[in-house]
């Protein structure tokens, strides 16, 4: 059956659509052919798929072929059977007949003959040639067609349709197509069934020795091909999938060693998308196919179908694993394949797949996830291709051009070397190339990284190439190999010499290699191990043999071409990864692009790409990887003169894990930063050193300050610099925790040198608003460079992965309290002090949880008050409890009493240290000045002195706090008073004209006063009675007066002669002089004057003089008449009731004629009464006669009726003619009298 393979291929290529046979019974085909073929391809068809489910297919191609056509006639039955798929799927019988008889006799038997073959699906198209205008013919045609239908159609199936040549009926074409489809469907179902049966039969034998894969393949592919013809691509694809499975299952079965394939020219170019690459007959082997070609063929068929299904994504997603698994298969047969065939195949396969899928792929036609996945696959294909390409490049000596980056190392160092059975040897005529390569290797200068960073380069080789290559040369023993390497270990693993060996060694190595490369030694290269250059040259030659694609070969011909291709692949991979989920892959490859850009001086592009890579690594804290890339970025930035970027890169380098760089390298970073900072920068930019300099408050409770107080804040700074670094300035902001305002800024004035590690910096803290504060931002200068740091450290050194910034510490570093009273100044005296005497005023200074250290008190006395500067101010501590008066005077009673004498300087005093925290009392000697003389009052009731007179104020201003920033103002009112208030009363007038003057002394102070002496300086007109010297009559001095009590003195004076002339000189008032002493406690009020205090201990209190003016009025006249009110009746007054008011007038002395104008003995009287209250009966005014003799008397009575009830003024008797001074009222009339309401008129109410 395998013999049919060639035929099968031909048939497949010749026929790619369904065939409909036309049985042209009545020679009508030429007439109808065009209109029939116009219907092709069928717009829409419904077919059954393999699982017999209806599937709609569109644009189904088909071809009408006459049964008489050579293509259908010439087939042998055997062939027909085998390649059934190409047989007609429907038979269209084209007939016409215009006569019933003719139909019955000729046509019907013939048709019966045609359709008796059950194998075929047939149907009859009756062509009516009758012209519509010809009724006769039309009718006949209808009759014949009716007969035809009766004879050939059945209930189950319509097999006829009628076609009018002159304008077919509207539904004819539909009918025709449905007939055709029905036939095709039936045929297809039958054939699928047939193939399936055959295939099942065959596959059951597949583990038997007689199994022939080719037969199976032909059947399976026939079925697949049939599906494909019917546009049932899904089913076709499934058949190919099954075919592949079956192939892989059976390919190496039975221990038969088969050829793998891949040895033909051009096989290195993958044909995985080109099913027609090689005829199958070429790859058939025994009863199966060669794996190399056949698997590619199957994949190509599958991808062709997938493209037809518009699923390029699936091609890619199947393609990548296919390439991987195929590559594994190639690896298994690598020893028979050309050198590096595997790598070349993978490269071409990936590129082919990428090109095909991306050109078929249209954006937006698939779900976003699929799209991402598609690009990921493209990226994967590109990067796989890239890796293999790099491997080839390495083998021909471009290893030096390959960046030894982690990504390259990861893919290359784990990729085994090609394993040819024998490593290619150097062609005879290649000695010049070897020399050139040798030179190239020697010229390879180790790439010194910026900052002098020295790292062992990452390997790009799985093992040492020289060893591997030589091992694969049969003629070499292992022992020689090791000898071979001793001289040049560095070259062997690709790392640079200068790093590992001292210069002298290097020279030796070079000279050694030179000796090897002398042509003389070259001849015997078969027997001695190959050197690296030779290996590379050999590999290059071998590769040229392997690679059949001129383009690919060209890309490896020079470094420039290689780089171009390398960039193309890398960019392809990176771009596609960027469009997929795999951003990291993309970014990492960007780094590779950057390396090439860098090499070509395209620093701008390189920096951009490197930045992306660094951001990726830094963002997730992959410091090891970052440490590899960041120096490159820094170098780019330096070359581009991007100072800001360069500085920040240096800072980032410094802030990386300390283990990642040596001390020397880190010092290099620092010196770069410092030198740049001190240079003239064009655009100074703030540098973020958050990762390098971190800060934290000191552990423990926050610093607590009162409102307005400055302080000092100590902050711990962690420096990540390897050496000491000088910060020219440093400031730190404070952030208020509960509002958005930025708090204050702390500045450290002088330059600060930060040691590596922990530093404690103390900032002066200006007064802050109340609230709690956390540390904000640290800023400062290094040279001209401003830097800022936002980072808090938790009290430990900045950890290596501090990129995850801690949450801002909510722990406040500083608390400033709301304004509150910090101190209280109050007067210590509770009662009035002595005026005009030096008195102590006590001022209590009470700190309220606040130190008064260094406090200064400004004292400003108000008017009428002055400080006795001759005395120092005393200060003593003061117990909290109100002091009892017992220990007054001496403040040293309490055990730990402090005492100090302070002096006033410019109106202020400074507090001593001991007074910082304890309540203290200040005693200030003071004198209130009042020029006025105290005046006594003459009434019996003591008249209070006006308080305002004795009021003085003292303004106090206390400056305290750390920098005298706290001010406390207080004005204290002080009361001063005279010791006594004096009131006088004439106690008695003696008959001899002597007046007894009672002087009452009211003590005004809360201290006991002792009167030692008192004397009266009388005013003009008064003289002391008797021989008195003005001293009181009493001799009970000293007289002690308790606080607020009274004492009395009695003076006897008598009227004296008025010395009229001296009226101006004479004193207007009498002066009472009192010599007294005072015993009082200054804590309570009045006390002995300050000056007396010194003498007090001696017991002799200083006597004080108190002077008070008294007014004594000289009586002008003696009374000569006395008017007395006679008592009223005892039953009281009632409204409406008559009452008699009586006054008695008595002449007290003889009237001196000259003084009184009247000459007779009559006296004028007048009664005054309020007319609303009283009704007066009788004469209100009149004269009564009164003898001028002393003692004569007369009674004036008058009748009155009270008019209203209540207390009313009674009528008054006046004597208008006589001066009031001469009238004495004795006894005096009542001021008010009570008038009762009228009595009830009971007479009418009393019962009989």
């Amino acid at each position: 059956m395998a013999n049919y393979l060639a035929q099968f291929q031909t048939i497949k290529s010749a026929c790619d659509h369904l065939v409909i046979a036309v049985e042209d019974v009545s020679d009508l085909w030429p007439t109808v052919k065009n209109s029939f073929e116009e219907r092709l391809p069928f717009k829409r068809a419904c077919l059954n798929n393999k699982t017999r489910n209806p599937v709609f297919v569109e644009n189904l191609p088909a071809e009408f072929i006459l049964t008489t056509d050579a293509r259908l006639r010439s087939r042998f039955p055997q062939e027909q059977y085998l390649f059934w798929f190409r047989e007609p799927y429907a038979t269209l019988v084209l007939v016409t007949c215009e006569d019933l008889d003719e139909f019955k006799t000729i046509l019907k038997p013939r048709l019966k003959l045609i359709v008796q073959n059950d194998e075929r699906e047939w149907f009859i198209v009756f062509v009516s040639r009758a012209h519509p205008s010809n009724d006769q013919a039309t009718k006949m045609a209808k009759k014949v067609y009716a007969k035809l239908e009766v004879d050939f159609s059945s209930k189950k199936r319509e097999r006829c349709c009628k076609f009018d040549v002159h304008g077919p009926e509207a539904n004819f074409w539909e009918d025709l197509e449905s007939r055709i489809m029905e036939s095709i469907r039936n045929t297809l179902d039958r054939r699928v069934q047939f193939y399936e049966d055959e295939i099942r039969k065959l596959s059951e034998q597949r583990f038997m020795p007689i199994w022939n894969f080719c037969n199976f393949f032909i059947l399976k592919e026939s079925l697949a091909f049939m599906f494909e013809m019917a546009h049932l691509h899904e089913d076709a694809l499934r058949e190919y999938d099954e075919l592949e499975l079956c192939y892989l299952e059976t390919v190496n079965m039975g221990g038969k060693r088969r050829e793998f394939g891949g040895l033909d020219h051009g096989d290195d170019q993958a044909a995985l998308l080109n099913p027609g690459n090689k005829p199958l007959t070429q790859i058939v082997q025994d009863d199966s196919f060669r794996e190399f070609e056949f698997r590619q063929y199957l994949f190509a068929c599958q991808s062709k179908l997938l493209f037809k299904l518009n699923r390029p994504f699936e091609v890619a997603s199947r393609g990548y694993p296919f390439i991987i698994s195929f590559s594994k298969a190639l690896a298994l047969h690598e020893n028979i394949l050309p050198f590096c065939m595997r790598e070349v195949w993978v490269i071409t396969a990936c590129l082919a797949l990428v090109n095909a899928t991306s050109s078929e792929y249209k954006d937006g036609h698939v779900a976003p996830e699929i799209e991402k996945e598609f690009y990921r696959l493209q990226g994967d294909l590109y990067s796989l291709c890239r890796v293999k390409y790099l491997r080839l490049a390495y083998l021909i000596g471009y290893g030096t051009e390959i960046e030894r980056s982690p990504v390259n190392s990861a893919s290359l160092s784990m990729l085994p070397w090609p394993k040819p059975s024998v490593w290619p040897s150097v062609p005879d005529d290649a000695s010049s190339e070897v020399l050139e390569k040798e030179k190239m290797i020697l010229q390879e200068t180790p790439k010194v990284k910026h900052f002098g960073i020295q790292r062992k380069p990452l390997p790009l080789e799985p093992t040492v190439l020289v060893r591997e290559a030589n091992r694969r040369r049969a003629s070499l023993s292992a022992g020689n190999t090791s000898e071979m390497f001793e001289g040049r270990p560095a070259f062997a693993d690709g790392s640079d010499v200068s790093l590992k060996t001292s210069p002298s060694n290097k020279v030796q190595a070079i000279s050694m290699s030179r000796t090897y490369s002398t042509p003389g030694n070259f001849e015997g290269s078969i027997d001695r191990p190959m050197r690296l250059a030779e290996i590379l040259v050999a590999a290059e030659h071998a590769l040229k043999q392997t690679i059949s694609n001129p383009d690919l070969r060209k890309t490896l011909s020079s470094i420039k071409d290689f780089e171009q291709k390398y960039m193309e692949l890398t960019i392809g991979a990176a771009d596609n990864y960027h469009r997929s989920w795999w951003k990291r892959h993309g970014v990492v490859l960007d780094g590779e692009i950057a390396a090439v850009c860098f090499k070509h001086g395209n620093f701008d592009l390189a920096a951009k790409s490197y930045e992306k890579v660094c951001a990726l690594y830094a963002g997730e804290g992959w410091q090891d990887l970052l440490a590899e890339v960041l120096p490159n970025l820094a170098e780019c930035q330096k070359i581009l003169n991007d100072q800001a970027g360069y500085l920040s890169s240096c800072v980032r380098l410094l802030s990386l894990d300390k283990g990642l760089f040596t001390m020397k390298e880190r010092q290099a970073f620092q010196s770069e930063v410092v030198s740049l900072a001190h240079s003239e920068m064009k655009h100074p930019v703030p540098l973020d050193v958050s990762s390098l300099i971190t800060f934290s408050g000191n552990p423990g409770p926050p610093l607590e300050l009162c409102d307005g107080d400055p302080g000092t804040l100590s902050v711990t700074l962690w420096s990540g610099f390897p050496d000491d670094i000088t910060l020219d300035s440093l400031s730190l902001t404070l952030m208020a925790t509960y509002n958005a305002d930025e708090g204050g800024k702390l500045r450290s004035s002088s330059a600060t040198v930060l040691k590596p590690g922990r530093n404690t910096i103390t900032f002066p803290l200006p007064p802050q608003k109340p609230g709690s504060y956390v540390l904000g931002v640290l800023t400062g200068h290094i040279g001209h460079l401003t830097f800022r740091s936002h980072s808090f450290s938790k009290g430990g050194p900045a950890d290596s992965d501090d990129f995850m910034s801690y949450e801002k510490p909510t722990r406040p570093i500083l608390k400033v309290f709301k304004p509150r009273p910090l101190v209280d100044l109050s007067a210590a005296i509770s009662s009035a002090l002595l005026i005009n005497e030096a008195q102590w005023i006590g001022i209590i200074a009470q700190p309220i949880n606040y130190s008064l250290k260094g406090a200064v008190l400004h004292i400003d006395t108000g008017p009428g008050l002055k400080i006795e500067e001759s005395h120092s101010i005393e200060m003593e501590s003061y117990g909290n409890a109100p002091k009892s008066s017992s220990d007054s005077g001496d403040g040293s009673v309490a055990v730990n009493k402090e005492f100090d004498q302070l002096s006033l300087l410019d109106g202020k005093i400074e507090f001593p240290d001991w007074a910082s925290d304890v309540t203290s009392i200040l005693w200030i000697p003071i004198r209130a000045i009042d020029d006025k003389l105290a005046r006594g009052s003459s009434s019996g009731v003591p008249q209070r002195q006006s308080i305002v007179d004795g009021m003085r104020t003292i303004a106090l201003k206390l400056e305290f706090g750390i920098s005298k920033n706290q001010i406390y103002d207080r004005t204290i009112a002080l009361h001063f008073t005279d010791p006594f208030h004096v009131s006088t009363r004439v106690a008695d007038k003696c008959n001899d004209g002597t007046l007894l003057l009672q002087v009452t002394l009211h003590s005004q102070v809360k201290a006991s006063l002792t009167v030692y002496d008192a004397w009266l300086d009388l005013q003009d007109g008064f003289v002391h009675a008797g021989q008195g010297d003005g001293r009181p009559i009493s001799g009970f001095f000293p007289l002690v007066t308790s606080p607020t009590s009274r004492a009395g003195l009695l003076f006897s004076v008598s009227l004296g002669k008025r010395i009229a002339e001296d009226e101006n000189k004479a004193q207007p008032d009498s002066i009472l002089n009192i010599r007294y002493g005072i015993a009082g406690d200054r804590t309570n009020g009045a006390h002995p004057p300050v000056a007396a205090k010194s003498n007090e201990t001696e017991g002799t209190g200083q006597d004080l003089i108190f002077r008070s003016a008294l007014v004594l009025q000289q009586p002008v006249l003696d009374p000569c008449l006395a008017v007395g009110f006679l008592p009223l009746a005892s039953d009281g007054l009632r409204v409406g009731q008559l009452v008699t008011m009586k006054w008695r007038i008595e002449r007290l002395k003889d009237i001196e004629v000259k003084k009184v104008p009247q000459t007779d003995d009559e006296v004028l009287y007048e009664v005054n009464a309020h007319s609303e209250n009283w009704m007066i009966a009788g004469r209100k005014r009149g004269h009564v006669s009164l003898s001028t003799k002393q003692g004569s008397r007369i009674v004036v009575s008058i009748l009155c009726v009270p008019l209203i009830a209540g207390y009313v003024h009674p009528p008054q008797l006046g004597l208008p003619d006589i001066d009031e001074a001469n009238i004495s009222c004795s006894p005096a009339g009542p001021h008010l009298v009570c008038v009762l309401p009228p009595a009830l008129s009971s007479s009418f109410c009393i019962p009989a």
Partner: protein
């Protein structure tokens, strides 16, 4: 041979990377582990595609490359364990078992009160335990 195991934090930051190669090439393993996070991310972010393995900690093979295999494991706290091996035929059950033991070791290590969550694991005990687990990989599939 297991060439590298790694613990990656939930912010994709490396917490522990240990390579078991002789050569001085840890960086390339860093790279492999780092890039494999792409796959982990993809699986986590596309629950539709990960389908039935959604609730499973074991992420399976992340990377079908030719020369090495990368397996992943995702804990409930979004901490990832990555295993890089050069064995090309590894039994899934072995890897699962490895991760189970590794997870236990990790949980013990981070339970140390002196360990700062989110920081690198510096415990020597953990390192020793990991190397024991790595050494016994493949041998003790039962335990």
């Amino acid at each position: 041979m297991i060439v590298c195991v790694a613990v990656v934090g939930h912010q994709n930051n490396p917490l522990y990377i240990q390579s078991f190669t002789d050569a001085d090439d840890a960086l390339k393993l860093h790279h492999i582990v780092h890039c494999s996070l792409d796959v982990v991310d993809e699986r986590v972010n596309n629950p539709k595609r990960s389908g039935p393995t959604l609730n499973e900690t074991f992420l399976g093979l992340l990377y079908p490359t030719e020369n090495y295999k990368v397996y992943g494991y995702l804990t409930n706290t979004k901490v990832k364990f990555i295993l890089v091996t050069t064995d090309l035929d590894v039994r899934d059950v072995d890897v699962r078992n490895f991760f189970k033991r590794f997870h236990a070791a990790y949980a013990d290590a981070v339970s140390n009160p002196f360990h700062m969550p989110g920081k690198k694991i510096t415990s020597r005990t953990f390192a020793e335990r990991v190397s024991t687990i790595v050494k016994s990989f493949g041998f003790s599939s039962a335990g």
